[in-house]
């Protein structure tokens, strides 16, 4: 296990280094931040001053080395726009995105697993067919459209939920969380559901496929022959086995949810990292873009690692392989 972890960490470091170069080059190629940031009324003298102040007068390789040197010391640069450390800006926004992503994942499991289980156990019932047909919608409807429809129905027409934004927050461990207040939950429901929509469909389909496959296995047949109650067969023997693919996919999806919650965050004016990154791209705030992408790279590497470890906990075969 230690060798495995060590190998994975070295791989991770290499990936981070290569990514930093790619990200830096990519961000550099998009455009000139000075043209975007500077007041159009600024004269040539002022433009030259700004180029110098932001360190954009250096050649690209030098800019990269400066960035790398600072990054090794834990400094990912200062935002051009906010004049604050890029990392601080991102971390400030992180709780908002995390609670949105966790909310979406929890919703996906709470809604998706029972529905998928039902559809798998009773594949021919009209309800199951309805569930499966609806899940196609969840896959294919664009997030921004569903988000706007949710707002139109639940906020504008019915007035049940607030349309946009994040609710009241409480500070825990120096970070602001909104899921602990009533107002915060009210604000969280729609964006989390919107973000979960795709995932719910995914979980339904994975669960259903898993159940249908597992039900035909010999050990299930044996368990039933032994006279175990259907509930025990379903929830102990079947359920445990279908969890492996579900955990893998939901785990990987979780990274994607955090990294790409951009659309939901901008439709619901949710002040998370996704909104920060899209605003930063719009004004070519390079340090924030680079820092964000580096964070996401780290996040994916960590999630993959966690998924691997969870695997070994869920599936004894993986554990045994490791021991040999």
């Amino acid at each position: 296990m230690t060798a495995f972890l060590l190998r994975r960490l070295i791989q991770a470091a290499a990936v981070v280094l290569v990514m930093s170069l790619l990200v830096f080059l990519g961000v550099f190629a998009v455009g000139d931040p000075i043209e975007i940031l500077i007041s159009p009324e600024a004269d040539q003298f002022e433009r030259e001053r700004a180029v110098k102040a932001l360190g954009l007068d250096l050649p690209l390789w030098q800019q990269y080395l400066v960035f790398l040197g600072n990054a090794l010391r834990g400094d990912l640069g200062r935002s051009f726009v906010f004049n604050e450390p890029a990392l601080k800006l991102i971390l400030e926004r992180m709780p908002a995105t995390l609670e949105l992503a966790i909310g979406a994942t929890v919703a996906a499991l709470i809604i998706g697993l029972p529905l998928g289980l039902y559809a798998g156990l009773k594949p021919n019932s009209p309800v199951s067919k309805g569930i499966m047909a609806t899940s196609i919608l969840g896959f294919s409807l664009p997030t921004f459209w569903v988000g706007l429809m949710l707002i139109m129905v639940f906020a504008v027409q019915l007035g049940w939920l607030p349309s946009t934004g994040r609710g009241e927050t409480v500070t825990i461990l120096g970070m602001r969380w909104s899921f602990l207040t009533r107002d915060g939950i009210a604000h969280l429901i729609m964006p989390a559901l919107n973000l979960a929509l795709f995932k719910i469909s995914l979980v339904i389909r994975l669960t259903r496929a898993g159940v249908r496959e597992t039900m035909l296995m010999d050990y299930v047949k044996f368990a039933r022959a032994k006279g175990l109650s259907p509930a025990r067969v379903t929830f102990v023997h079947v359920f445990k086995n279908i969890l492996i693919p579900v955990v893998t996919v939901v785990g990987l999806e979780f990274g994607g949810t955090i990294a790409f919650s951009v659309v939901t965050e901008s439709v619901f004016a949710w002040p998370g990292m996704g909104k920060l990154i899209i605003d930063s791209i719009n004004v070519l705030d390079r340090p924030v873009m680079v820092a964000y992408l580096m964070m996401i790279v780290l996040l994916f590497i960590t999630i993959n690692l966690v998924v691997d470890i969870t695997y070994s906990l869920l599936d004894p075969r993986v554990r045994l392989e490791g021991k040999q």
Binding site: L37, E41, D43, R93, T164
Partner: protein, 542 residues
């Protein structure tokens, strides 16, 4: 200071009286209104994120709007962009190179620190020194060579040469307090402790990119704002902003999308505040190259050895071929006015009678033939697709109009971040771009858009097509030394006329600005697009 002591007492009494009157009025209103608590709070939804609370860090309209709620400058622009007093009560040039400002007395900062001429001097020192500023306000303070403090409330600003724009420029420079802000950092402003000004509101909290909360500054020297608390929310998605208004989560929104205007206008629960803005949308041409221009070819796709866009007849033909009314009425859904110059009617330097050319495809064809292009040519028209309302659709419409006049036009719309760099590097032949004249007077677009690119003079920095007209330059420079307003306006009109008759740029339209609000709210719509809480008030009861 002693001389002002006797004045102090009555002024304090005045304040007390005003408070008492305000309280009485408040009670009267509270007695009548059904929801007295709600009546005093305002929630605004704005479309562009505020990036900094430091008023000297990043020049950007949303930042200016918020700065004008917390801070004050020596002068201010009113809703029609005319200069009015703010912290300065009056000003005049005492000689060709000296401006004298008389300051308002008895003003205090939010923390009680008094405002004096020392604070102005301190502010002018700080402005160019703000570290890492991506767009400094130093362009407004640089003409000042020396600040002379005559007394606590009189200030003389010395310049190297006559500088008529001093009162205009200083409207952008928010005054800070020498005591409070001596070591203020941009982070200090964003976090809150340094957000101390003399403006109508105090900042209570700031959540970057999300919302800013304000409360009324009861000691404000100007008109008392109608709101005791204001929430300023940033909702960048157009549809979400409109939905937030319809759901009643916000009371006012800005940047109403043109496609929603008709629907919102018909909604009984809402009202709109609209006004002609100061942003002109125009086409710019490649004036750099005498030989082949990168996106101009003949009808067979081969480069043309001479750049047709250098010929004023070709430029006039292209302008004549555009049906501006069709664009403003259909593409812009009447949220714009056809334009033949930089500014709307009523602005300083507006040229009466300088109208856009009458749309005439045949006349355009004749002009092209005269210029030696009877069969026209091919061109690619570039533009942004995420910057101005309907920008990509406008260039598509123009592409069709030009093609009808014989200039076969391809259209390429790109994201602003990519597009603007290409335009600034003179990589394009013809492109659409906009200009907001926040100062509301004509020297601003003349200096930046059509004056010859000149690093030493600091002119033409946004002249991306590199148009050059020495005669217009000469008149502009004369105007920039002219302290007499009437004479200066005449010169600016003359320079504008020269640049427009030579078709240096092709103005298309001037945008209208629109805010939508729930019934029961009223707002003074500003030409400069700023969304400020002090401009909103409860609608008069009917």
């Amino acid at each position: 200071m002693l001389t002002f002591a006797p004045l102090g007492l009555p002024r304090d009494k005045m304040t007390v009286f005003r408070h008492a009157a305000g309280l009485a009025a408040g009670l009267a209103i509270a007695g009548l209104a059904l929801e007295p608590a709600a009546a005093q709070t305002l929630t605004m939804g704005v479309g562009a994120p505020v990036t900094s609370i430091d008023p000297h860090y990043h020049q950007l309209s949303p930042n200016t709007a918020v700065a004008e709620m917390i801070f004050s400058a020596l002068t201010e622009t009113d809703s029609r962009a005319r200069i009015t007093p703010d912290l300065a009560e009056s000003w005049r040039p005492v000689s060709d190179t000296v401006w004298e400002f008389k300051l308002r007395q008895g003003v205090t900062f939010h923390n009680g620190s008094p405002f004096t001429a020392e604070d102005v001097a301190f502010t002018f020192e700080r402005v160019p020194k703000v570290p890492n500023s991506p767009s400094s306000y130093a362009i407004y303070t640089r003409p000042i060579t020396r600040v002379e403090i005559v007394d606590s409330y009189t200030l003389r600003l010395h310049t190297a040469s006559p500088y008529p724009l001093m009162p205009t420029d200083l409207a952008s420079v928010m005054i800070l307090d020498r005591e409070t802000h001596a070591n203020a950092t941009t982070e200090g402003f964003n976090a809150g402790p340094m957000a101390v000004g003399t403006g109508p509101f105090r900042m209570v909290s700031h959540r970057n990119g999300d919302r800013i909360e304000f409360e009324r500054n009861d000691n404000y020297f100007g008109p008392r704002p109608a709101w005791s608390r204001v929430t300023y929310r940033m909702i960048t998605n157009d549809a979400a902003r409109t939905a937030a208004l319809l759901a009643g989560d916000v009371d006012v929104i800005d940047q109403v999308p043109t496609s929603d205007l008709a629907k919102l206008r018909g909604d009984q629960r809402l009202t709109l505040a609209e006004t002609t803005g100061l942003r002109v949308i125009f086409l710019s041409f490649d004036h750099v190259r005498d030989d082949a221009s990168p996106f101009v070819t003949d009808n067979d796709g081969k480069p043309i050895p001479r750049n047709p866009l250098r010929d004023p007849r070709v430029r006039r033909a292209l302008s004549t071929a555009i049906d501006r009314n069709a664009i403003t009425e259909r593409v812009m859904e009447s949220a714009a006015l056809p334009a033949g110059q930089f500014l709307p009617e009523g602005s300083f330097g507006y040229v009466p009678g300088l109208n856009p050319p009458r749309f005439d495809t045949e006349a355009a064809k004749r002009l092209l033939a005269e210029a030696g292009f009877p069969g026209g040519f091919r061109i690619t028209l570039h533009g942004p697709n995420d910057r101005y309302p309907n920008d990509a659709r406008i260039i598509q419409a123009i592409g069709q109009m030009w093609t009808r006049a014989g200039v076969r036009t391809a259209v390429e719309a790109q994201p602003w971040t990519t597009f603007v760099g290409r335009a600034a590097r003179q990589e394009l032949s013809a492109f659409l771009i906009g200009w907001g004249t926040s100062s509301g007077e004509a020297s601003n677009p003349l200096r930046n858009l059509t004056a010859t690119f000149d690093r030493e003079k600091g002119y033409g920095a946004s002249n991306r097509g590199r148009y050059s007209n020495p005669e217009a330059d000469r008149i502009l420079e004369q105007a920039m030394r002219e302290l007499d307003d009437a004479k200066r306006e005449a010169l600016l009109q003359q320079a504008t006329r020269l640049a427009m008759e030579d078709v240096g740029i092709v103005p298309l339209h001037i945008q209208k600005n629109a805010w939508a609000m729930r019934r029961g709210f009223a707002m003074e719509a500003r030409a400069d697009e700023l969304t400020r809480a002090q401009d909103v008030r409860p609608a008069a009861a009917r």
